[in-house]
Symmetry: C2
Subunit: 111 residues, 2 copies
DNA sequence: CATTATGCTACAATATCCGTAGCGCGCCGC
DNA sequence: GCGGCGCGCTACGGATATTGTAGCATAATG
């Protein structure tokens, strides 16, 4: 495990120029599979392949891209056990963990 | 104001077949501009055009598509003052409103 | 009627995502 | 060694989503 990728081809997150950090964060989180990836890593680290499986076999291209973005943002890191949340990433997770309960109630409404 | 659109061409949200409501919710929120739109509506209703302006002049195609999705989900409604959050939408907003403060701290870290 | 603003749509160009296949590397068991 | 396996990661072409520009129909106002 642990080989480290490029992590070099970085591009500014859209909205980061606005000086409003929340915009950059919303843009980062508002990309396909980003929230889902954070969600799947909420309990324990996963290998990249296990993560793909957990995400309905999403294509490795996007998963890898999102993981790179999340690593650059400092929310995810690659350790011995695979990809896991950093302390900062765990904080982020806490902020939208109540979504779970909300989703349950929501699904019961429009059924 | 208030003309009402089709709201008929609906397609199941991806992940809704899994029986895990949170997946459907994550998929809905994990589309471009969705989080941003909810964010811009967090304080007061906006007309569709004001909303587009607030969202860095996003194209009306996506904004309109997202608004339709959010209306079908029951998070947004079109009233006299424009588009606004429903009571359910306000609940959803509350769950990720702490992101604001998190984003502030986050931006100070990687600077 | 002319103006302005609303919600919303058509269309082509572009960016993004997808699935498939495969690379190089390290780790075992033989 | 060396063959197989799983890892992180990438290339490539086709499918899909997003973008920007322009415009429609309607309603309210002057």
């Amino acid at each position: 495990m642990a080989k480290q990728a490029s992590l070099s081809t970085k591009r500014a997150v859209r909205g980061s120029r606005s000086g409003r950090p929340v915009m950059a964060l919303l843009d980062l989180l508002g990309r396909r599979w980003t929230l889902r990836i954070l969600w799947e890593l909420r309990e324990q680290p996963l290998t990249s392949r296990a993560l793909r499986t957990a995400c309905d076999d999403a294509s490795p291209t996007v998963v890898q891209a999102r993981l790179t973005e999340l690593r650059e943002a400092g929310f995810v890191e690659l350790g011995e056990a695979g990809y896991g949340l950093t302390p900062l990433g765990r904080e982020l997770k806490e902020t939208f963990l109540p979504l779970h309960r909300f989703a349950e109630r929501w699904s019961k409404m429009n059924s």
